[in-house]
Symmetry: C2
Subunit: 234 residues, 2 copies
């Protein structure tokens, strides 16, 4: 049984907790199945993620997501009150996927710290190359894309993206701290240098997208390991 | 007298040539005034530029632009067949404005080459700061914003933006060539270093937008002058 009425349940709770509860605060009493069809939710998230990444947030409506996912609108609104709530869930899932499939391996401490940054650069290039071969277009960074499109319009999405960028910053800070501890770096502002490195990554990805040329990343990204913000600057 | 029927005149011709001619290729014969109301065109361009910059391309429709500009839809379609054509004209005008009001002064050869990059960084910070004080939000780079939002969807706009980024690259290449000639730099790939510097600018602006904190630019941007892509890398 699917509820036609959108539940006022936060998308973040839905995805991050991984469980579903009866929402007694809703005006109408809706019985939510205790074992909901998770594959439906997965299909909605996957379709929304793919469509928004290849096009944009604004260009992809709920109807298009439902059609792509092969689900009815009632199912969609069973999980998400709105496209914005869906997008918050997509961002959570995309970050978790990126962490488990990429960041954890890229930033593993099996090689010297600054070489991890080169591995990050190489992985980002290979990812964008694979996407470009698949779609014919450089699609850029899924997080940077939504950050640019929505930061001035959807504060909840901006805040979610800000938290994701801070987590990425923490990853790179750890690399830099390891490099300082190993004596490979000194006199740098670790937090600002991590920010500068992320900025460089995002900007290279933007240029690759506007030139529709993934080789921009191959040329530019490895230089990320040379960026320093000196400690005394601030 | 205003034509209600959209003329199939390219927006680029309209703006870049600064003149208006009778379009005899149109199916209906439309008498276009030889001295059209330029202030109407200016208001449309200014409104579109402001609204798209503070929100996004998709979020701003022709109706909203006309209302903001105080013009009728008939006037809009007198100048532009579509929002896409308008946007091409907005980009031309925005680039010309940026060049005349900022780039020509920033890259003037009155100070040593690498100091011009610091002047560029300072000017970009001050511009974003003024916008943020005015609107309460960091809006980012008007070119980078549209590049991210539209590159995969509107090829004509991507190509226009690509040309604008190439012009900016030429400005920075000149700075780097001057630095090489002055003996301040050596063994760099000038074109790739210019690309890397633009990437860094755009990425810093993206982070300032997602954190809604213009001080990110003050901290990070001056480091642009230290970026190098070595000649032997490629």
């Amino acid at each position: 049984m699917e509820a036609e009425h959108p539940q006022r349940k936060s998308a973040e709770d839905t995805v991050e907790s991984g469980k579903f509860v009866l929402d007694l605060t809703d005006r109408s009493t809706i019985i939510t199945p205790m074992n909901p069809p998770l594959d439906t939710l997965d299909r909605i998230l996957k379709s929304a993620s793919e469509l928004m990444y290849s096009r944009s947030y604004a260009d992809v409506g709920v109807a298009a997501i439902c059609e792509h996912a092969g689900v009815k609108k009632g199912s969609f609104y069973h999980f998400f009150p709105s496209k914005r709530d869906l997008t918050l869930a997509v961002l959570d899932k995309s970050y978790i996927d990126m962490k488990e499939n990429m960041l954890d391996a890229v930033f593993a401490s099996d090689i010297p710290p600054l070489e991890r940054l080169l591995r990050f650069a190489e992985t980002a290039y290979e990812f964008n190359k694979a996407v470009a071969q698949d779609t014919g277009q450089v699609l850029g960074c899924p997080f940077g894309n939504l950050a640019i499109e929505l930061s001035t319009q959807e504060e909840a999405i901006r805040l979610k993206l800000e938290r994701i960028f801070k987590k990425l910053n923490a990853n790179i800070r750890q690399v830099l701290q390891d490099a300082v501890d190993a004596g490979d770096l000194k006199d740098i502002n670790i937090d600002a240098t991590a920010q500068a490195m992320i900025a460089y990554f995002e900007g290279c990805t933007l240029l690759a997208k506007v030139h529709n040329d993934v080789e921009v990343l191959r040329t530019l990204l490895p230089q990320v390991a040379q960026i320093r913000i000196p400690a005394q600057q601030l």
